[in-house]
Symmetry: D2
Subunit: 275 residues, 4 copies
């Protein structure tokens, strides 16, 4: 079968039961909906700690934040680098939340592993096979975002690269694909969520912040993602979105995030999940 | 403002309150989620009546069914024509459900108006402006599907054509757009639902059957559509999908549809809607 | 074979030799490259006659011009209607060039047939099957534009609708498809030109004006179209593009068009064609 | 201006005259059309030398061949690695043609620099910014392919990353974008060629082999690329395409390549170029 030539280890045929990834007792892929929240980019200590404390209070389970930022232009803000990682680690110490952050290249894997609990592969590296293979030898869970133009088969094959090198802990993330529609930043392809649940045993979460690029769509599309069967959400939150160094227009503020979390509880329950 | 050059009557600025369309006491655009269900194509009396009776029993409020079918090839089954309309009318008489059916050209508007309660414009006619203008002079509500490659602005402008001719009763329908992803028939763009609710006062429903093309995605994507804020659903149901004359692979059978309706109740409630 | 279910009459298997359409001795689909040129919209007599005279002098063989204009918004300029047709007929009388103009609905077919030599179906009506069928009973050649989201199979099936009703004279036209790239108005898909020449016997021309939406791309993409094997070009020309009522930004002025025609001669010759 | 925030060094405003890249007297970006030809993947000595000798005889100026192959699946053939590089170096020694080969990660840059004259960045790494930055410190020219979903601005920004680190020698390569059309492997976007020539001073070549994925489209689309203003072509050639380890269906055989080169001469001349 052609599909078996592309991938095997990620399929339900190979492993029928759901993969549940346990990070300090936060279980991704189980009955509970897990929300990753935090700023697009780590900017400074006050920002990081303020946001971390608040998203935790609202119910987030994982802190997300970028220290190394892939940006279209070489002249944009590219993150604080190791200093950013240290701030994330500090926030983790204070809040006890595991930290997820992006890894852009093989050279920085070891450095990031020192500070983070989950390594994120961004959509621009979704088919950076050298990176995927090295992450397959890593002992931390990988959060693998779908490429902007990745077909389902390519997305799943990218995950297979990681499993094939020995790392079984891959969390898939739908974050929107590139289409002709420009009223949203990307087109969030939620149909892929149930398809992935049917075909693979891996957890799949959804990023409505990048998926829509519009703050006031994050709430309804978060609900839709959970209703479609997602195991979690990745949400950009900033205590002052209007001065955020990147992606402010799609970040929720602390109040909006707290409201969202309350509303998500009932939707989660309606589809048999906890939050 | 550029947007005002494209459209005006459909905007919230022009009319802040929701448009609620009342068809024999079925209210589309209000608190209640309205489900349109029925076969892709009307095939014969037994099929039509059986499906109509059963979807009604499960909670559908509007019977959908095609008598005139736009098909890619001139050699495919193109529907029963007026005979199909008569069968739909008969099903309406028996079930008391209003009937929605597709109108493909200006010549058949009068004929279809004799039998149907809602006239549907298919995605291939989404920018057939002559048809839209004639429907703007019609006294029946119009169910306007988004074109496969319609940007939001184009979809809304198409509705404006109808309102501008005097018919205020337009129900918008997201049914998937054409993208590079081939694992689903189209890419269901649910983000457009909350965008449309924000910008316009018109009801918006979602067609997960055409939007995904896969029977086992209809259930999760129906839930997602409601969670995203849709006012209703358009669902293909067939009592024997395996022998349906068109779109069998995306039609629910009667049991699947009944189960779906039960599950949708809790999701609807979770987002403050009734079903 | 699946393809035979979609279409048959347009294939090389059915008719191996090229279809050459003869309109008052202008032969489309033969060795000669045929250029259709003229304004996007007919605006007034002076404009129409000036442009017609000049494009003829530069080597155009067919006059194109819109009397009925499909526009995204109901509030844009929609053409002069029959008055526009009369101006086109007058230009034909003066220049002896056959006239091609768009038909938007079945009701206006007879009217347009009175004035025009070629009836154009626009991309928004590329799957308006009722229109296609009526045009199949018409005795004038049809210029069928590809839909913005038409796959090759759908484009060819649309032509089959016309042939299947008895009209063998269809000229296909590639005019760009809708993709994520926004630096051009559409993405001109020239690869479809040699594919169509291989699979069908119908002539295929290219519209670089709509295909790119940018005046300074019309020249290089016209050359590319001919190099790829197109049988002709459809080019928007205006004597004063800066005041054109529609599509001025993609219209060549008279000097630019004349220069283009000179440069196209050598490219045509290089691929064994005349101009 | 927004564009200046994305890039600067690659623009015509910054450097009005064309960048001409000289590799052992092969000048890319000048009046002469430069053809890169060779196998998709280096398979063995006989294959590599046979193809190299023949494409040189037919007029190719640069030998292309993959030693490290990015493949969707971890289970496909991924190239011979350093052994492949050695075979390419041997072919260079025999034919005196400079060699272009793909670099997939920062770790292998030094190794590949030992053997190759031009380092190619594949479309899947088109926004692998860590790789681009390291290549910006390299003293070899970079052949930068457009990402499958790269908008023009992103493609040019990727080049800016390389120039900004000090390497001025970037050759851009259009290789098709991902769209809904599946009758070709990608949609070759030739309109970007003249746009790039207008906006930047960098050479731009076209890859019709990947751009179409179909052997019998390579000839017409090569001509179209040159007519559109491309500075060169990247063409897959195999002495036995039917047994090629990858991409055989889009590779020309030696006779087809030789015929193509003859036919390209006249097209090149017709647009004022040499070959």
């Amino acid at each position: 079968m052609i599909k078996n030539q592309l991938y095997k280890l990620i399929t339900r045929e190979f492993k029928p039961e759901d993969t549940i990834i346990d990070i300090n007792s936060v279980k991704i892929g189980g009955k509970e909906i897990i929300v990753f929240a935090g700023p697009c980019a780590v900017e400074n200590e006050e920002q990081t700690i303020t946001i971390a404390r608040n998203v935790k209070k609202s119910g987030a389970k994982i802190l997300r934040g970028g220290a190394f930022k892939p940006r279209t232009s070489p002249y944009s803000f590219h993150g604080l680098g190791e200093e950013g990682l240290k701030l994330l680690a500090k926030a983790r110490e204070i809040t006890k939340m595991p930290v997820a952050t992006e890894v852009m290249d093989t050279e920085s894997i070891n450095l990031i592993c020192k500070y983070a609990d989950i390594l994120q592969v961004g959509s621009r590296n979704a088919q950076n096979f050298s990176l995927l293979k090295k992450l397959g030898k890593c002992d931390k869970p990988i959060l693998l975002k779908r490429g902007m133009s990745s077909m389902l088969e390519e997305f799943l094959s990218a995950a297979e690269y990681i499993l094939n090198e020995g790392n079984p802990n891959v969390i898939l993330c739908e974050r929107g694909i590139r289409t002709f529609e420009t009223s949203t930043r990307n087109t969030l392809d939620l149909s892929i969520v149930p398809l992935i649940k049917q075909r693979t045993h891996l957890p799949i979460i959804v990023d409505p912040s990048h998926g829509t690029g519009l703050r006031n769509l994050v709430n309804p599309m978060s609900k839709a993602a959970i209703a479609a069967g997602a195991d979690g959400l990745l949400i950009e939150v900033h205590h002052k979105p209007e001065i955020a160094k990147s992606d402010g227009q799609q970040s929720l503020n602390l109040v909006e995030f707290n409201n969202l979390m309350q509303e998500l509880k009932t939707v989660s329950k309606a589809v048999g999940r906890d939050l």
